[in-house]
Point group: C2
Chain length 349, copies 2
Amino acid sequence: MADNQLNQIPHRRYNILTGEWVLVSPHRTKRPWQGKQEKLPTLNKPSYDKECYLCPGNVRAGGKTNPNYEDVFSFVNDFSALLPDTEAQSYNEGLLLGEGETGICKVVCFSPDHSLTLPQMEVSEIEKVVLLWQKEYLELGSMNNINHVQIFENKGAIMGCSNPHPHGQIWAQSSVPQEVGKKTIHQKEYWKKHQRSLLGDYLKQELELEERIVAENDHFVALVPYWAVWPYEMIVIPRKHHQDIGQMDGKEKKAFAEMIKTVTTKYDNLFETSFPYSSGIHQRPTEGEEHAEWHFHMSFYPPLLRSATVKKFMVGYEMFANPQRDITAEQAAQTLAQLPTEHYSKMDS
Amino acid sequence: MADNQLNQIPHRRYNILTGEWVLVSPHRTKRPWQGKQEKLPTLNKPSYDKECYLCPGNVRAGGKTNPNYEDVFSFVNDFSALLPDTEAQSYNEGLLLGEGETGICKVVCFSPDHSLTLPQMEVSEIEKVVLLWQKEYLELGSMNNINHVQIFENKGAIMGCSNPHPHGQIWAQSSVPQEVGKKTIHQKEYWKKHQRSLLGDYLKQELELEERIVAENDHFVALVPYWAVWPYEMIVIPRKHHQDIGQMDGKEKKAFAEMIKTVTTKYDNLFETSFPYSSGIHQRPTEGEEHAEWHFHMSFYPPLLRSATVKKFMVGYEMFANPQRDITAEQAAQTLAQLPTEHYSKMDS
Ligand SMILES: O=P(O)(O)O[C@H]1O[C@H](CO)[C@@H](O)[C@H](O)[C@H]1O
Ligand SMILES: O=P(O)(O)O[C@H]1O[C@H](CO)[C@@H](O)[C@H](O)[C@H]1O
């Protein structure tokens, strides 16, 4: 990016999907850090933990018993933030505006083996997770009053995950959430103008520039987006313009699983730790519209910045003004691209 | 709020200032918590720490020596995220859009006494902080190329604060940050329609309802906004429609200092700990327009939810979909309103 002088100085970058900006301060990691250090997570977990409410055969907090599942397993969250049986109401009094929200929250166990995480699983095992995501998206999405299905994972205690058993969540609900709404607006605008996918055209440009690409296979590309907020944020984009994950064929599902393994393995290798993140899949809402503009993608938002114990804090300035980052997307991409795709725990042996 | 049935069930609430929504799940704090526990911060700090780069007379990381200041002290951050001497440029190539950003980052020491925090300071001492904020806002705001001045504080290691010496920051910059831009749009819309302050009318409604008010004095009201995102979020609103803090007279400055002491003392008393938060003042941008619509206010975003060691994580769902909270604004306001205004550390003696 020799022709982009911006890269050396503080600047803002525009997120074409959300219409929002991020402040980039390329020189700022030089400052000394005397602040909070996180505790290092350990990789040595047992394969079965009798206290874990997600392990096969165990009794959950809600009183139900898990089946002896052999690959993946999903169930309705015992402490759901959304409930299916609430009546949609609205409350509008002067300047107060509220709306009832119905929905379903599910937990998705990725593996019966308590000790694993996605990067440590086989591609064939991750494929089963992808298959379950597809099934849940299609089933939940076709239900009455479910107009959006959010699939996500919080990995690591630092990301608010309260159980280290490999699992993610799905919150399906009656309204279309804000972040998805923003992305719909900007993709639609571009679609109307060009009859082409915004993210597809962006991917094409990134593949030509080759400055932020981290990994590629036949069907998916992983890169650090130009407008990344989190230090090592990545986005996984399908080469084909699919609106949702339900449209992937067998080969694409396998390639998606492979890419998830590659991305999460590179993350673990970055600081040789079980790398924390929140990941999520953004795709077309399920209120019944075609949404030709939507191009599904999976994003990873990891908090770590300098090492396994020092994270980036999105606080004061970031909360009141703008997200801000201390290394450029190009620096992050270069570092990630160079990392091996074999897990560090296996390279020692 | 007997007439608002929403309060018992999952629902969304609308933020009239930003135009954004928050998902509220009133029943959700019942779930057990096996996740991350924070370390308890300690109140026993020395009044002077020779390792602290903010204490009077000490040498800072950048090599400069602090004066022997006696009340407040501000200086340009040695590791500024924004720099004054960068040339505004822009970069627009296909779908990549970036813009140069110039600015000044300052550190504001609230007291020479390393051991203190705002709630432990005298009102007359906090008044000096308010005075310095006024001065900085007016001085920085009148500079060429400074179109916005963000005053904020990160308190506590959990909020990314790397030094416990009582201090805040000011980031002044050439572009108007996103959060401020959103609030400008919605205040302006209301102003155009009604020729009245949106926040002023909201305050009036809250004072009539008396359901979310935490504290009042002659010139300021502290309340938990209807659309609060953080569990114990508060907003401090001046009764008079001032566009910026530069417009406060002597009595208002004192009342503002008093209210800051009340709010932060209640926070410390909530879990009997030095309560972490990010606070910030939102006010009119300084690009030279009148901004009659703007009504300045100070907000506090504290992360703690259940106790001094368990915080609310804004992760997965919150990042990909919507902010989400587990207790209602009314519950939080009631709890905060009942707390004493004398600091718990003094009540023991
Ligand atoms: O400037 P500090 O105190 O070193 O840093 C802290 O506040 C900044 C402004 O909110 C953030 O960008 C940093 O992530 C945070 O650690
Ligand atoms: O549902 P969990 O894993 O108990 O909770 C975690 O994920 C949720 C969804 O992102 C968040 O609302 C919680 O703050 C977080 O701790």
